[in-house]
Symmetry: C2
Subunit: 200 residues, 2 copies
């Protein structure tokens, strides 16, 4: 599918065909391309949790405002970030580069993140969200619909998926066969309300 | 261009053809499609600042580790978020919907964001980053390269673009004609390091 068409046709799906599940090959294909998304310093902070156990899905639904998509979508992915990935053997993110590039990048990583908790969190949010957009366009390309979600109890979901203490959740994404035609867009802001030249 | 090819071929560009600038029509096309990206509660927190004044570009470069792409790219966009957009006449984000849907969404917005500064910031980071990914794929589709940037002094850039006090910067993006072939990827993590089933 063309980039423009995928962007135009991607609309958030809330009601899915409960009888449909994605195959391992499809999930692998989705991940394979999603992992080509950019991350700052190539840190790849993202951690993807696919929730397949129906009982666990039901538990997550309870702490997600009881939204049906959590149990009914073909795939439920929880996009997490390792907030400390920058400090875990960062050489490996540049192992294909010449030694001096490796050294330079590792120094840059330490300078950027050390002691700056907000920068660590913002970075994870950026990286996971960039990847999520690619994932949703890929889903569209594969004939699926999707929905990015932040309407859930982040702490409760963290406990349910045994999220490590130095990780955080960015959002959840559902993917599947939508059973509902998209509604008209809610009310888009005019271009001059969101676009500026040089300064505000 | 096909979604998969755009995702595969998008690589971060650092060295651009300085003689090239994007036309108004091209920038408009880029924004038009980027604005089809999803935002939570349709709040559209994003604010896009295109920096065209060469003197301002030079000032921003000084506080961006002197990276040439800041002045040399065809387009420099600063992705900002209005942290308080959720509290600024939220009915307008749902003006096309029936009254009961409008009321329900506005109530949800107030419950989600009131008093939660971190949620407001995370939301902006998510929305602006989702949009940025679409923007970079669209750029690729238009024959351009791009680079998402966070290597700059956020406070200094905020002052230079007169960022309102209740806004924040998510990242910058450069777009243009790359003058350099992409290098091999730095060192990608194996799938089993980033992909989990049901829990960590």
């Amino acid at each position: 599918m063309e980039v423009k068409h995928a962007i135009e046709q991607r609309r958030s799906a809330k009601m899915y065909d409960v009888s449909h599940r994605m195959s391992e090959d499809e999930i692998h294909h989705l991940l394979e391309y999603t992992l080509l998304s950019p991350t700052a310093f190539n840190i790849q902070h993202w951690r993807f949790v696919a929730v397949r156990d129906p009982a666990l899905r039901a538990e997550i639904r309870k702490v997600s405002w009881n939204q049906a998509q959590v149990t009914d979508a073909s795939l439920l992915l929880i996009l997490c970030m390792d907030l400390k990935a920058w400090d875990k053997d960062p050489q490996r993110y540049w192992r294909n580069a010449p030694q001096r590039v490796q050294d330079h990048m590792v120094m840059g990583i330490r300078e950027y993140y050390t002691g700056n908790e907000q920068a660590q969190r913002d970075e994870g949010m950026r990286s996971c969200s960039l990847a999520t957009m690619n994932l949703m366009l890929l889903a569209k390309d594969m004939g699926y619909d999707s929905c990015p979600m932040d309407g859930f109890d982040f702490d409760a979901v963290a406990r349910l998926i045994r999220l490590p203490a130095d990780h955080a959740i960015c959002m959840m994404v559902t993917v599947g066969k939508s059973m509902q035609a998209p509604r008209p867009r809610g009310g888009q802001l005019a271009l001059d309300e969101v676009f500026f030249t040089d300064h505000f």
